[in-house]
Every structure is written in structure tokens, then in C-alpha cells.
Subunit: 354 residues, 2 copies
């Protein structure tokens, strides 16, 4: 959402509270409930969404007045951050509250209130300039123009292949506009080693791809950026991870989001494809493996209970992991030579989705 | 070291083996021992170094022939990677060995052999194009010129402040030459949140600083890059971490390297300064804290036994952590407002080292 629109919504929110008070009413806010009972998996949009059940935070209720006050302060914090063009994190917000005499038990309480504000306004926290701590990276033939108001950068352009080690995905890129794109797909890669290899092997040119290094589980803002590449530029998205329950779920979260963020509907890329490394590839490509440990097995069982894995493709892969009780890394293709993953595996997999 | 020089050394190494064989001798290699007994802390250079004790790997000895063969193969792998301009990781090397019928029990065995080759040739593995998996980032007014032979980049230049989210520190940057630097110091920062804040608050301009995001413990190649900024450009280096044993040790490893890499002497920056967040800052700045857990306490005790922490400054900080049994995050300064860390804390600390 555009900066001005976010500021306008925050002002409306403040005004609605003000008007209630000037009418002599206790101010109250109604928002959709984010309890598990009100979260359902929507097969159509391939994501968790929240239902219609609502809750109220009223200043007239002694048990609600604290969270209402916190919510109003978080809106104030967001408004000021945007006005000052000051990127923050959930942790900054938690600490900064002290300066205003706003009390949070711990950071999980302040995180919840940020989610409340997201729910009330229907705006993800990144648009309040609250960004994740984690950083991921990107490389590819895409020209962007910075739109954030910093005069050093406003209106300037960069080609995201300017630096062959990749550039960081942060506030400036997330708010940039796409100017020119010469790629026709996005490949998201779990590990830094393979991201670097792909650049050296010219995957961006040979496969016309924008490369994204998720650095493990992709940060929320990166998932939203992947969605933009998919929706705004029409680029199909392919995800390449380790062959283990964790890698599989990195792909799933890019495709389907997470239950935690069911109140935000623009974080996922429903059409993105997990192109491996699949459990079934372990046998097919005779990959070197390691045994799964207890944590891996427990994770696999948790995924099996997740409605998103009921689909035949995903449950086949879970069954195969379960049968093998082994896992393999992206880099294990190096047993066939360092270029094998690019020369053979990647074309094989992309052909499946043609 | 320059690419051609590395290749020349690898050829010499091969030639020495070849000559032994053509004289009818069993080939052998002598290298300095990296056992703990042969590692000492050198107060002068503020790092662990290896002593003069040597070991031999000879083809005439049945117990040594395997590791000698592995060593020769690793040299071959390195030579080919450089020739093909193909960045790899320790993991790639481990997997790739299978393609050649070279057996390693596990990756720790192949990692050891890579360290052997580093020891024999006195060349760090990054010069063999074997890079860490982890990625860190940089932002600042420094123009570099790429020297790696990829024709897409060779001879091209970039200013490292071209992208306001920062650019990745990877193979291309590590082998680049410094062309023009308008900064007069380096500030290395542990967390992504503060790195981004520093860019937004124009720390690079207000303090003439190159900013580095270590992303936790700085990867080895990043530590070597920090050393280059210090040695080649004469820039003092300041390190800002969380106030806990882990943060303190992030600084120490940049300053003093690690015992693991005692055979490599150009990874550390002896004059770098840890500018906080110190244990003593917790009380001085009345920072919000969390209690240390058992892992933190155990870590603190381990650091106390490390000879590098005998210095009065470091042992004072260990004592203070131990007395408080509490820790604080870099971002806890936000309790005084989001800009406080830049407006007040950073100038206070830099003034101490003027």
C-alpha cells in the first residue's frame, strides 16, 4: 500500500476514536478474532484465513482498557515511524514502549498488539515500516526505482544484477517499484552456497531467472516481495530447498503463508512450485543422505497433521520421507560434479512445470 | 593472494610430489601440526598461532596414505575450482569427492583435509574459492573494482552504497580491489535491525563509516574482509553487539580469530575495538534486560578460561556479566527513543577511542 494511504488509514483510525470520545462514549474498537477457532484453511487461495467472529476492545471494560491503550500506542508508533521514514523491528517497538510508559509483559504481548493493528486496518506491519530482523538476498536482471522519501535515493534506479554477490532485500527494495524486468521466472534457493553457485553458473541468464536467497525460512517481507514478483510481473516462482521436512516447509510457507499471519492475505504465492529436492528425488538421483534425527521425524509428523499437506503430491513426499527416514541436502548433487544441479537437475525439474 | 599466485603454488605442490615419484621415492608431505599442543596464543599479534612441531603424510606409511591421497585430491579440486571460476563450499567439496572415488567418513574429515592444504600452502581456503555458507552484508561509500575473471564483471566498479539495503559480501566482493574510499572507519553490527536503522539514520555519512552486518558470528571470509579494510585502507574498526557472552565473543573473534584457524594468520583485525554493548553499559544506561539462562552462564565460564579474556578490560566485562547474571540487546536502547543509539550512545563510545 502507498505510504500516503497507510498514513490516511492511521489518521482515520485515530479520528474514529476521537469522535467516539467527543460524543461522550467510551472508545471501542472491533476486530476480527485471530483465535484458532476462527482460522480456517481456504483451499481456493491456498492459505489460512480468518473467519467473521469479532472481538471488541473497549475502554469501558476494565479487562480491555490495557490492550486498547496498547493498540492506540502501536498505531501512534507506526504513524511516527512512517512520518520519520524510520525502519523498525518488533523488538524496537517493544523496547520503545517503555519511553511512553506503555507496559508490555514481554515481546510476545507487543507482537500480538501489532497483529491486532494489522487486523483492524488490514495493513501488514511492513507498511508501518516494522521489518523482520532476518535478511535475505536477490540477484537478477530487474531494474527497480526507489520510492521511499529519502532524498538520497528517491527516484534512483538500480539493476539488481549490479553486484554479483547479490543485494539485500530490505526496506528500500520492498517499497521500490519495478521498472524493467528481463527475467521470466523466479527461483528461490534455501542455501547461500547454492545461491552463489547459481550466479556463477549464470542461471540468471541461462534460465532467465531472478534468484532469491531465502536464507532458510524466508522472512515475511521476502515472501511478500516474492508475491509481488509473481503478481505484478507475472513471473512463475520455483522453490529449491534441501530434501528434508524443513526444506519442504520453507516452500509451503512461500506458497501458503502461515496460520500466524492468517489475518494478512497478501503474503503468499499460491502458484509457486516446490521443485525439490523432493524425497522421491533421493532415490531417483541416488543422492548421498544422512539419517533423519528425532527432531526431523517429529517435524514430519507435525506436517502430516497440517491440512495443507493433504494434497496428493505433498502427502506422497511425506510418505516417502517417512519410508526412507533419511534426508539430503541441495548440495549433495555435487557428487555428480559441481555443475550437475544446474546442467541436469534444474532443467529436468523446470520441464515438469512447462 | 592473487589468483595466478595461488595457481602457481598449487602447481608447485603437484610438481614436488611428481618429482619425488620420478626419483623413485614414495611421495610425502610435511606440514605443521594443528593439534592443540602445538597451538599457542600470541599476545603480540593477539591471535592463536601454530608452533613448529610438524607431521608427515607419506605414501610409504599405510596409515597415512589415505589422508595423503585426500590431500592431493583437495589440491586438485581447488585447482579446478579456480580455473573454472567456480565458487564452492566445504559441503560441495565433501559431496564432490564421491564422484572421484575419494572417501571421507563425514564432512568433518574433509574439512580437516582442507585445513591441511591451507597449512601446507599457507593459503586460506577462500583463495581456493571455497567460501562459507553464511552471508553477511555491507553498506558504505567505498568504490570497488571486480577482479574475478568473469567477463560480465571483470574491471567493472560499484559503489557499495548503491543499494540502500546493503549488498552481500561474497566471492566477487572478497576478490575485488579497493578503488576509492570516502569513509574513515568501519562499524560492524551484529543484528540486521540495527544495520538497517544505521543506514536510515545516515550513520555512514554522519560518522563517515562503512557499515557491516555480521549477521551474528561473522563468517570467516567477512573477518578477512574486515582485516583488509583495516590494513589496506587504514580504517579503524568498531564492533557493536548485544550485551551478552555471545556478542562479546563475536567481537573477540573479529579481533583475535579462532583457535580452529590458528594456521591462518590473516583472518583477524588485532586493532579492532569492541564498543559495546558492554556489561557495564547495562547499569550505566539503565537498559532493559533479560536474565541469562544456563547456556549463557556456561558460555561465560568458557570465555573466562580463554587466554584472550585475561586482559583487564575483558575480564572486567566478564565479571560484570557474572555479577548481573543479566543480558541486554543492542535494540534495548530504543527505550530512550529510536534514534538514541545513534545520537547518544555511538558518539559516546567512539569518543573513548579518539
Amino acid at each position: 500500500m502507498r505510504r500516503e494511504d497507510v498514513l490516511a488509514r492511521l489518521r482515520e483510525f485515530g479520528l474514529s476514536l476521537y469522535e467516539q470520545m467527543s460524543r461522550g462514549e467510551f472508545p471501542r474498537v472491533k476486530l476480527r478474532s485471530r483465535t484458532l477457532k476462527n482460522i480456517v484453511y481456504d483451499v481456493e487461495s491456498k492459505q489460512f484465513v480468518i473467519g467473521d467472529k469479532t472481538v471488541v476492545r473497549s475502554a469501558a471494560n476494565l479487562r480491555q482498557i490495557k490492550s486498547l491503550t496498547q493498540l492506540i500506542w502501536v498505531a501512534y508508533f507506526a504513524y511516527n515511524s512512517i512520518k520519520a521514514n524510520q525502519p523498525t523491528t518488533l523488538r524496537d517497538l517493544y523496547y520503545n514502549a517503555e519511553a511512553f510508559g506503555i507496559e508490555f509483559e514481554d515481546q510476545s504481548e507487543s507482537n500480538e498488539i501489532v497483529s491486532d493493528l494489522e487486523t483492524v486496518l488490514g495493513i501488514p506491519r511492513e507498511d508501518f515500516m516494522i521489518y523482520p530482523e532476518e535478511r535475505s538476498a536477490i540477484f537478477g536482471d530487474l531494474v527497480v526505482e526507489y520510492t521511499h522519501p529519502d532524498p538520497d535515493y528517491y527516484g534512483k534506479r538500480i539493476n539488481l544484477s549490479s553486484h554479483p554477490d547479490g543485494v539485500m532485500i530490505g526496506p528500500a527494495l520492498l517499497s521500490a517499484e519495478f521498472v524493467e524486468c528481463n527475467a521470466d521466472k523466479v527461483i528461490a534457493i534455501e542455501t547461500g552456497g547454492l545461491f552463489t553457485r547459481f550466479i556463477a553458473e549464470k542461471v540468471h541468464r541461462r534460465f532467465n531467472a531472478i534468484l532469491i536467497h531465502t536464507a532458510g525460512q524466508a522472512p515475511r517481507s521476502t515472501r511478500r516481495f516474492i508475491r509481488r514478483l509473481n503478481m505484478e510481473l507475472g513471473l512463475p516462482v520455483y522453490i529449491l530447498t534441501d530434501a528434508d521436512p524443513w526444506g519442504m516447509h520453507i516452500a509451503m510457507v512461500i506458497i501458503s503463508g502461515s496460520a500466524n499471519a492468517a489475518h494478512i492475505t497478501d503474503l503468499n504465492t499460491p502458484d509457486a512450485k516446490w521443485i525439490g529436492v523432493w524425497a522421491t528425488d533421493i532415490t531417483k538421483y541416488k543422492l548421498p543422505t544422512e539419517p533423519m534425527d528425532e527432531r526431523d521425524i517429529a517435524r514430519l509428523e507435525a506436517l502430516r497433521r497440517d491440512p495443507r499437506y493433504k494434497d496428493p503430491f505433498w502427502s506422497r513426499e511425506i510418505d516417502e520421507f517417512n519410508r526412507l527416514k533419511r534426508k539430503a541436502e541441495q548440495q549433495s548433487f555435487s557428487r555428480y560434479g559441481l555443475s550437475y544441479v544446474v546442467d541436469k537437475y534444474l532443467p529436468d525439474k523446470l520441464a515438469l512445470f512447462k
